[in-house]
């Protein structure tokens, strides 16, 4: 009927496993058929708090990776930071618990048709969807380098098996507790030019996405970033999650990051206008 939310379904998913990994919880859920429509960059919206919860809104989580081959049918992996009441509730759910989910939602990372040089940059749990993306890029013959950053080592999510898909992995922490001390943007331009990067794929805090955009603004590099705005519905009906996006004609549109995102072209996001009202176009 419409292309918005195409492929998205609401269903009950069972938790297969929930284990702590550093500061995060790695949660596997059984989701069946829908794995076929999940692409790197898509997210899932999950009800939290149970039947008589005072939390009435779903919480959004990037789909870290999906797998069809497992004994459970289609499964989905989430990397969840226990942040507030909702994500803490999710992290406390045990094997066998049932979750009400809506997935897959939102846009996905654009996959090149030719083998290119890709740089994947993740901040905190933002690395989660990048490993799935790396697999796909790799299978298309791309060269995949990865930079991960976080405030400290416990917030770096870099699973063993994920590392196999990347050609190089460099880690930065602000306190120096893992990898190099500093931020992923530290020597970004150098890396981009040394490695002939064509496309940057990024996922992480808005400040990081903005900084990357500004650094590569005067280069030829394409920057696809997965944004994270506060979302009430996740399906495009509430208009709470908007970001100012520059149109071809120079005017600005307030686009919904849940259906026109989360993956967006970094160079079109008007980072300096986030949290403001742009002049009315026309």
């Amino acid at each position: 009927m419409t292309s918005i939310n195409k492929g998205a379904t609401q269903q009950i998913a069972t938790i297969i496993s929930n284990k702590r990994v550093g500061a995060y919880h790695q949660i596997h859920i059984n989701v069946g058929e829908i794995v076929k429509s999940c692409r790197p960059g898509n997210f899932v919206a999950i009800s939290v708090g149970g039947d008589s919860s005072r939390m009435i809104l779903r919480r959004a989580f990037a789909i870290s990776r999906v797998s069809e081959s497992s004994q459970y049918g289609g499964t989905m992996e989430l990397i969840v930071a226990p942040h507030g009441a909702g994500s803490r509730w999710l992290c406390s759910q045990i094997e066998g618990a049932e979750l009400d989910i809506v997935a897959p939602l939102g846009t996905s990372f654009g996959i090149p048709t030719e083998p290119i040089n890709a740089l994947l940059i993740g901040g905190g749990y933002g690395s989660a969807p990048l490993f799935g993306l790396a697999d796909v890029l790799k299978s298309r013959g791309c060269k995949v380098d990865m930079l991960l950053g976080a405030s400290n080592g416990s917030k770096i999510y870099a699973p063993m098996e994920g590392k196999r898909s990347v050609n190089s992995l460099k880690i930065y922490t602000e306190d120096g507790s893992m990898g190099e001390t500093g931020r992923v943007t530290e020597s970004l331009l150098e890396i981009v030019s040394n490695r002939n990067i064509d496309v940057i794929y990024s996922c992480g805090p808005m400040g990081m996405l903005r900084a990357i955009t500004e650094l590569v603004a005067h280069t030829e590099v394409i920057h696809q970033c997965a944004v994270e705005e506060s979302m009430a519905c996740g399906i495009g009906i509430c208009m709470t999650c908007v970001l100012p996006i520059r149109n071809e004609d120079g005017s600005t549109s307030m686009l919904r990051s849940c259906i026109d995102g989360p993956v967006m072209d970094g160079s079109r996001v008007q980072w300096d206008l986030v949290g403001q009202i742009p002049e009315v176009h026309q």
């Binding site: 009927m1 009430a232 495009g236 509430c238 908007v242 009202i277």
Partner: protein, 313 residues
């Protein structure tokens, strides 16, 4: 098993197969929900309030979750009436959905302009006039908080739109005397009333230690406000028993919808519940049918305002 309850309802001369509608601003223009259920399966799609010109709305953050509720300050972002009538309405009618167009203005003149544009559109079931926005001509006071301004908006719309299309005036609960405002807009030509819009609220962000929303204040919606909605509907139905009411405010289940109907609502809009559950309208509709059947109602009509039965003369 389809239970033998006649779920149809009317708001003035508009007929709907079921009383469960979307709420304005909580279904965008309909396309987004169509993935989850056929839009024609619910009573009507009430579209997001549209203004004459395209509009960016308020700065982000635009929402804050609160206990059993949420605040929003969207600020009527939208494409403007021309684009809306050219694109969204035809699409909805193609889906065989019943359409109620919600309009909003900053001046009394703007409402009349919108009404003029709607007059020539065929296929829509009713117009909902959202008078809960600030009146730029009058110190930013919300129209629906001022009996006189409310009346004048509805009067302008009535005169422009002619006699056919039902006018539903949407009121704010943030007033001292709701029945008085309701009487005023009915006198001015409203055929039905929509109750309630959101309740004015605020959340302070404990990190920035400032109002959390970009627009500072926001509208409170969701189950938290349901008791306020039930009271408003009950009060207004008692004062104006012959004016149909489109009820809304915190409806998330069939029992909630029935509560509003017993209080006096002829139809029920579901807003915030769709954010938490994209198929909320369908489950509410099914649950309502079963609850009515279990209570021996053969038609929805019999249940409307039933809680007042001992008070009617």
């Amino acid at each position: 098993m389809t239970l033998p309850v006649d779920m149809s309802t009317t708001l003035a001369n508009a007929w709907f197969p079921t009383p469960i509608f979307t709420a304005s601003g909580c279904a965008s223009s309909g396309k987004e929900l169509a993935q989850f259920f056929p839009l024609k399966d619910v009573g009507a799609i009430v579209t997001k309030s549209v203004m004459t010109k395209p509009r960016h709305g308020r700065p982000t953050p635009r929402m804050a979750e609160t206990p059993s509720g949420m605040l929003n300050s969207i600020g009527l972002q939208g494409p403007g009436i021309d684009s809306f009538l050219a694109n969204d309405v035809p699409w909805l009618l193609e889906q065989k959905a019943r359409v109620i167009v919600s309009i909003a203005g900053e001046t009394i003149e703007e409402y009349s302009t919108l009404a003029r544009k709607l007059r020539s559109v065929s296929g829509i079931s009713a117009v909902e006039v959202n008078i809960s926005c600030p009146n730029v001509e009058n110190r930013g006071l919300v129209f629906a908080c001022d009996p006189d301004a409310s009346r004048r908006v509805i009067d302008g719309v009535r005169k422009t739109i002619g006699g056919e299309l039902p006018i539903i005036a949407k009121l704010s609960p943030d007033v001292t005397n709701l029945p008085e405002i309701a009487k005023g807009v009915v006198d001015a030509g409203a055929d039905a009333l929509a109750l309630i819009n959101t309740v004015l609220g605020m959340v302070i962000n404990l990190e920035t230690m400032k109002p959390h929303l970009g627009g500072k204040t926001g509208g409170l919606s969701g189950p938290a406000i349901r008791p306020i909605a039930v009271r408003a509907i009950y009060q207004v139905h008692a004062a104006l028993p012959h004016i149909p009411i489109l009820g809304m405010g915190g409806v998330a289940s069939g029992r909630d919808a029935l509560e509003l109907i017993l209080a006096g609502a002829s139809g029920v809009s579901v807003g915030t519940a769709s954010f938490g559950n994209p198929t909320a309208l369908i489950s509410i509709q099914n649950e309502l049918r079963e609850l009515l059947a279990a209570r021996g109602f053969a038609t929805l009509q019999q249940a409307i305002g039933y809680a007042h039965r001992d008070e009617k003369p």
